[in-house]
Amino acid sequence: MKKIFGIIAIALFFYACGSDDTTITTDDSGTGNTGNFDRSAMLTNWADNIIVPGYVDFNAKVNTLESATAAFTADASDLTAVRAAWLDAYTTWQRVSIFEIGPAETVNLRLNVNIYPANVTTIESNIDNGSYDFGLSSNRSAKGFPAIDYLLYGLGADETAILAVYNGAEGAAYKQYLNDVVADMKQLTVSVLSEWQGSYRAAFIENDGASATASTDRFVNDYIFYYEKFLRAGKMGIPGGVFSGNVEVGNLEALYAGNLSKELFLVGLDATQDFFNGKAYNTNAQGESLSSYLDELNAIKDGVDLNEIINSQFDVARASVSALGSFESELSQNPPSTFLESYNEVQRLVPLLKVDMVSAMSISIDFADADGD
């Protein structure tokens, strides 16, 4: 009796933990309780349809900015073209800023092209000295989009005054600096793009496991980190005084050009929602994504439709921010109550992403290397 019991139990156990031979038919229609979401397909969609096309477009916009800058420095008579190229590249940047993983993380792309506010003192002293090392972290706030913002909008009270600087005694130094800032951005962008087009894409997709260092887990962390720190806090929370108690207009993105920060924020918000839904770059095609992953998990869990909840909160946040005037005008109110109400709608996504989504996917946030029980 004992033996039979033991044998049955052990046999049952090994059946339960079966090898690959114990084939259980998996239902791929998504209606069954399979739970075997194809993370590799999601990573491929991210890389091929979102990230790489994003960097390709951004790289093109940086190239346009480079030629527009060259044209402007050759003949500093009109700022319109170079300003337009800057805005175009800056807008596109909002779509790729999320992807701070792999090559972009290695070169710290985000810190190198978009630390704001720009440090005007450093910029001016760099121009005065005529020599500067953009590789130094102390120069990060003296280059990138915020530095160009200052150089194209902040050097004088109006366009005439700004052009006068470029055509004045120090003009050559300013032109040189502008060219160097753009060249630095170009060099960083090219290096990131070429890595993605080279070996990194395959490495990214191949790492499709479930460990803390797997692509999905790391990327979801990076994605939420971007949403929380750079979109929510950087573009709205900090200027709105959420963390300090004082409105800090000087911390707005695109400070000198003015009245752009709301639009840049909205592009960033669109980018995060499109990424969530796996929407291909600049088209409406959708592939495997965090949202389809949640749908898949929901099929097993038979719980709330988190995917819908997150998407509708994205929509609410967008509608709320869109209804605002420019951030500058909103922040001139004291207290800026409407601005802060919109911020709260943006904030509501944080727990949904950071608690609900991550918990449903069993992805740990900010990996803590420790034992559990």
Partner: protein, 459 residues
């Protein structure tokens, strides 16, 4: 009845199982400490953070900056003494005190199995595990020409079995709830994410597997001590112990715990089995064989002390049996409020995560702002803090003191928090209108926790 108890307490058994238990316990604890040290966790968890979450009543237990390493070294030294059986009683007392102190330094690090080690080592203080196959026995025979003992009170061996039994059975009882049995939660969340484990990865996404693991897990915990006790089912039960704990090791990051449980289960085996192990070891280390066959019985040197030991152990087990039920004294859902959750052998029962954003209000100027938790807490501390009310309160007090130290006056601290439990959508956790700066922690019910919106049936 009393006669029977007296007779039981006077019964003696061969000490071999205790010796095997002592040696393996010592070695595993040493390995555990080396592992902890080599992962850099002493620095990361105890030295680097500027703030530590403390246990109620143990706020005075603090890390000693770099001397914390010394504490770990003392603890490790005691495990070596335990292993070789050198000044056993002193060694196990040092181990209990140093290990428990380590565990009390930061509540963030609380794990059921660390608590288990603390309780086990406390119990071992009253067990003569060092008097057989040990340096102590060797020295005794050389110095005084006395014969080392071979027989110890039976209750000392049985008490280890009882403690293991309590751990298993209470862990099993805790699984008898609707989330675990009816919804297969949280395994339904955890298992599919382990899809990349070789061989079984694909199966882990299957719903029936989640149910099978849940029900098997509950049944295993409830029954395994009894199958280990019964001689006929023992070998089979031990195989199950190995399979079960190796599987949990593969599936979850639970460190040394599976090995501790596997080795501890050996205590249920007969003397013959343990003697085989000891004789093999004795041969290898050239331990004199005649010291293993002495017929000498254990006789306490101080009779009052021996009686006191039995009373202490009896009280210890009463506490162990009652403490897990203290949650019944609190209103609300245990998994949600966690009032009475710790020290109750509730193991791997919840997928719970949270988000807590603190708002500081200067009561005089009316100025208000939010706190960036990463300024004060490590990622692990922030994670644990965000869904446990006592952590939230302690942190709120820390923030109050910090910002008052910065010159803010009459600081009020509010928290906007969301918690998700076992696949439910996150909901507000702490009353956002409660000024945490004013609330003192106690054993009383925390009425500033927003009640759970769902129901979990069961124990």
């Amino acid at each position: 009845m009393i006669q029977q108890v007296k007779r039981y307490l006077n019964t003696q058994r061969e000490a071999a199982p205790l010796a095997v238990f002592r040696v393996s316990f010592g070695l595993l604890m040493l390995a555990s400490l080396i592992r902890f040290w080599s992962h850099g966790w002493i620095e990361k968890f105890y030295i680097a953070p500027s703030f530590h979450f403390t246990f109620y009543g143990f706020e005075w237990v603090r890390p000693f900056e770099n001397y914390t390493y010394l504490l770990f070294a003392i603890c490790a030294l005691s495990t070596i003494m335990i292993t070789i059986g050198y000044k056993y009683r002193l060694a196990i007392i040092i181990f209990f005190l140093s290990f428990t102190y380590i565990e009390l330094m930061d509540k963030t690090m609380y794990l059921n199995h660390y608590y288990f080690i603390s309780m086990l080592s406390f119990l071992m203080i009253f067990i003569p595990a060092g008097s057989y196959f040990s340096i102590d026995a060797l020295q005794l025979s050389r110095k005084r020409a006395a014969t080392p003992i071979q027989f110890v009170p039976r209750w000392t061996i049985d008490s280890i079995k009882l403690l293991l039994g309590i751990v298993y059975v209470y862990a099993g009882l805790a699984k008898l709830n609707s989330d675990w049995l009816v919804k297969a939660m949280p395994l339904k969340i955890w298992l599919p994410s382990k899809f990349d484990i070789p061989f079984i990865g694909d199966l882990l996404g299957q719903e029936w597997v989640h149910y099978a693991f849940s029900w098997f897990g509950a049944g295993y915990d409830l029954l395994i001590p009894f199958f280990l006790l019964w001689r006929k089912s023992r070998p089979f039960a031990f195989i199950m112990v190995i399979i079960f704990h190796v599987l949990t090791r593969v599936l979850f990051p639970i460190g040394m715990f599976p090995y501790v449980m596997i080795v501890s289960a050996l205590i249920f085996f007969d003397v013959g089995f343990h003697k085989k192990i000891i004789y093999a070891f004795a041969k290898a280390v050239k331990y004199p064989q005649q010291l293993l066959e002495t017929t000498q019985h254990y006789a306490p040197r101080n009779l009052n002390l021996a009686k006191a030991s039995i009373v202490i152990v009896a009280i210890f087990f009463t506490v162990q049996l009652l403490l897990p039920w203290r949650y019944l004294a609190y209103p609300g859902e245990l998994f949600w409020t966690e009032e009475g959750y710790r020290f109750s052998w509730r193991v791997m029962l919840m997928e719970k995560s949270g988000y807590a954003q603190f708002k500081i209000v200067d009561g005089v100027s009316g100025k208000r702002f939010y706190v960036d938790n990463t300024d004060f807490l490590t990622p692990l501390q922030e994670k644990q803090m965000s869904f446990q009310p006592d952590f939230i309160l302690e942190y709120a007090h820390y923030l109050r003191d910090h910002f008052e130290g910065q010159g803010h006056q009459e600081v009020e601290v509010y928290v906007e928090s969301y918690v998700a439990l076992n696949g439910r959508l996150s909901t507000t956790y702490i009353d956002p209108k409660a000024d945490l700066a004013q609330i003192e922690d106690s054993f009383a019910h925390k009425n500033w926790i927003i009640p759970f919106t769902d129901e979990i049936k069961g124990l």
